[in-house]
Symmetry: C2
């Protein structure tokens, strides 16, 4: 790992990954016991090193960009790959923000005395070793390492092969920062091979890696979920809904529906299907449709919707199950709240769904019965985000129910143990 | 499922399990929205039905006992299988205790206003469908169903084939109780075939079963953990330690060490290895060893231990890694707290470990650095239990770090979702 910008000669990838895993496990024990000051000092030292190494980061990134251009990567991919001054600023700022967050590790809560006289509570602890598998953006290397480090976890990072030199340069800064703060440099290791077999090896090391977080396209995430031999914190589809109730305030409904679709098109918390109560559809939809069309959004509706707005193409069955990630919106007129909830629980992806209503009884039912990681009342689905929720930062959004659900910040990277205090107590 | 005491003619086990899973998924949606009153009414109705069906339960259990005796099951297994009046009382009392627990579902917490004006918090929700795979004790059928029902989860239960008729009789009472309370009878389904292929099918239905909880021997649990295609809440070994520090109060140390080993031998939270600080070993160990020997405990020690007590056989390397579940104790003299913590983190099973000391600095280090699901100061490891911790009941003890750790009660059977309340808020 000391050759920061050269491919290592690695002939046995599985053995190499085992070695990384073993060192990560050893480092995780030190990191779990490290105090907040040391972790924050490391984060600040990494930020300072990245700042001092800007020229080298840009030069190493240039090697990746040139190789990518030669391989014919498209413009969008090359843009994601680029490390410019603003993005280096972003990494540095991100590290300092994570340093400023409260340390979750060692937090003690729910301490109560039991009838036997023992005192029982819980202490928050790191998960251990987190494996992160991601694609082209090199800034993920610094962002993910920072969150894992702060939460007391060692990390094994496997970035995209097209960002190899950029990631190795960032890894070198991280190692120097850890070293400067007296923490084990192996606490953050970046896989130094572009061999695709590394992913398969990494997800099959339950003795060394406690959880895998894949970040990237659906294909990558599905493959990892199916093959991993350790738990996976994953994000699949974001098929998000806004339901405009017959008792919605029309202005709020207009604002929320427009923002949820058009504020950004490519994000997982963007609305993909709008549901409108039958009795307000004729009044509400035409003006909203004009606003969408003015922004270039293609509308696909049920029969009732297409009778009310123009242009409108007929939605087919697949539309209700599609995450467009594009300026396309499916619209369905529903009979009532029950049909709206049934539609969301059937066609949604348990990500983020919002009701617009002034009726508190319907709001309470929607909050309780919609089975999604974020459920909202009178707010845009675009708020589903770790920063907006006050988590400080997020390592991803989980669409699972097990362990962590919704935006995953520092707390999602921890577990809890029970602690018991006695005075020589024995069980009778 | 209406034939409560007959094997169904099931030719396609995988299809049969899929059918159970589909019905469980449908029932789970109703159960998630059910109010506490209905769930408690069902628990009370099941208890009343079991009380009214005592003769039938005993008769069906007699069929299992006779078949087991004919098959040559040993006395311990036949004892676990038996449903006598006291055990039926226990099931009934357990159901009523779960009814009396607070309902975790729908609990809202951590609601705060964010700078944007939205209000963000969390709501506790059921996991969905819980699959439970267990061995000979039929009372698990009622106990596990009760915890899952109260936490809003549908359940698919697969008990041991030797308890088939007993489990089907209990299942009939559960269905009648659910029905009487107006809840879907499919909320609790007991697999009505003894075909061993049912387990393999049940753990490979991620679309219908959200989590599997195996309860039984290590072989069963390892097989399920390796093969399951859904998350598993599991309990493996309980290799628990007590460390007697040089600053321990000798009376507390004596009481805790004796209780942790001898209060019960076959439980997972029983101490299997005693660690004693070198400077107090000569004073402390001989009297304690006499107390163990008086209770019939076989002692296996390191060289220093065997020089201090008699009788003492030499412990070999395997002893430090063994869960005896028997009146056998391994004893090691250690140099200091560091060696004690290193021993526990190397040889323990991350279950339950306790330090006896009057020194708060050492107690704080032990609590922070021992990586186990329960970590104790001056208390017997035997306290590691859902009832003792105030969880009301437990469905098992998890030795994993992911999702639930330690004794798992109602909360471990739930997830949380984010809820957001706004007033027409949009993201800018």
């Amino acid at each position: 790992m000391s050759q920061t910008a050269e491919h290592l000669e690695i002939t046995d990838v599985a053995a190499y990954l085992r070695g990384l895993g073993e060192r990560a496990r050893a480092a995780s024990r030190v990191l779990a016991a490290a105090d907040s000051g040391a972790k924050n000092a490391a984060l600040d030292a990494i930020a300072a090193d990245l700042d001092a190494q800007r020229d080298r980061l840009v030069a190493e990134n240039r090697r990746d960009l040139d190789a990518g251009a030669a391989k014919g990567l498209d413009a969008a991919l090359l843009d994601r790959l680029e490390l410019n001054a603003a993005r280096i600023d972003g990494m540095i700022e991100g590290l300092r923000q994570v340093a400023a967050l409260p340390d979750p590790v060692g937090e003690i809560f729910d301490m109560t005395y039991r009838p036997t006289g023992i005192q029982v509570g819980r202490m928050r602890v790191p998960l251990g070793v987190v494996g992160i598998i991601y694609e082209s953006r090199p800034n993920v290397t610094a962002d993910a390492a920072a969150l894992c480090l702060k939460s007391g976890n060692a990390t094994v990072l496997r970035g995209g092969s097209e960002a190899f030199h950029s990631n190795q340069a960032i890894a070198a800064s991280i190692r120097r920062g850890l070293d400067a703060a007296g923490l084990p440099a192996d606490a953050v290791q970046v896989v130094a091979t572009t061999d695709r077999a590394a992913v398969g090896s990494m997800i099959a090391l339950p003795e060394f890696i406690d959880v895998i977080i894949p970040r990237g396209g659906k294909g990558l995430i599905e493959r990892i979920s199916n093959e991993a031999r350790v738990p996976v914190i994953k994000h699949l589809d974001g098929i998000c809904h806004v339901y405009v109730d017959d008792e919605a305030d029309p202005t709020k409904a207009f604002d929320v529906a427009l923002n949820a679709k058009t504020q950004r098109y490519g994000t997982c918390n963007t609305m993909e299907t709008l549901l409108v109560h039958d009795t307000v559809a004729a009044e509400f939809l035409p003006e909203l449709a004009r606003a969408y069309v003015a922004k270039g959004v293609e509308l696909r509706g049920c029969a009732k919707t297409c009778a009310l707005i123009d242009p409108c193409s007929a939605a087919d069955a697949a539309d209700w199950d599609t995450e467009y990630l594009a300026p396309i919106l499916a619209i369905r007129v529903v009979d009532d709240l029950d049909q709206a909830i049934a539609h969301i629980n059937t066609h949604g992806s348990q990500h983020t769904d919002s009701i617009v209503t002034e009726n508190i009884t319907k709001a309470r039912r929607f909050l309780r019965e919609v089975d999604s990681s974020s459920v909202m009342v009178n707010a845009s689905t675009r708020f589903a985000d770790g920063f907006e929720y006050g988590l400080g930062a997020e390592i991803g959004i989980s669409t699972d129910k097990f362990h962590a659900r919704g935006p995953v910040g520092l707390e999602g990277l921890t577990s809890v143990k029970f602690i018991v205090l006695g005075d020589g107590h024995v069980r009778s």
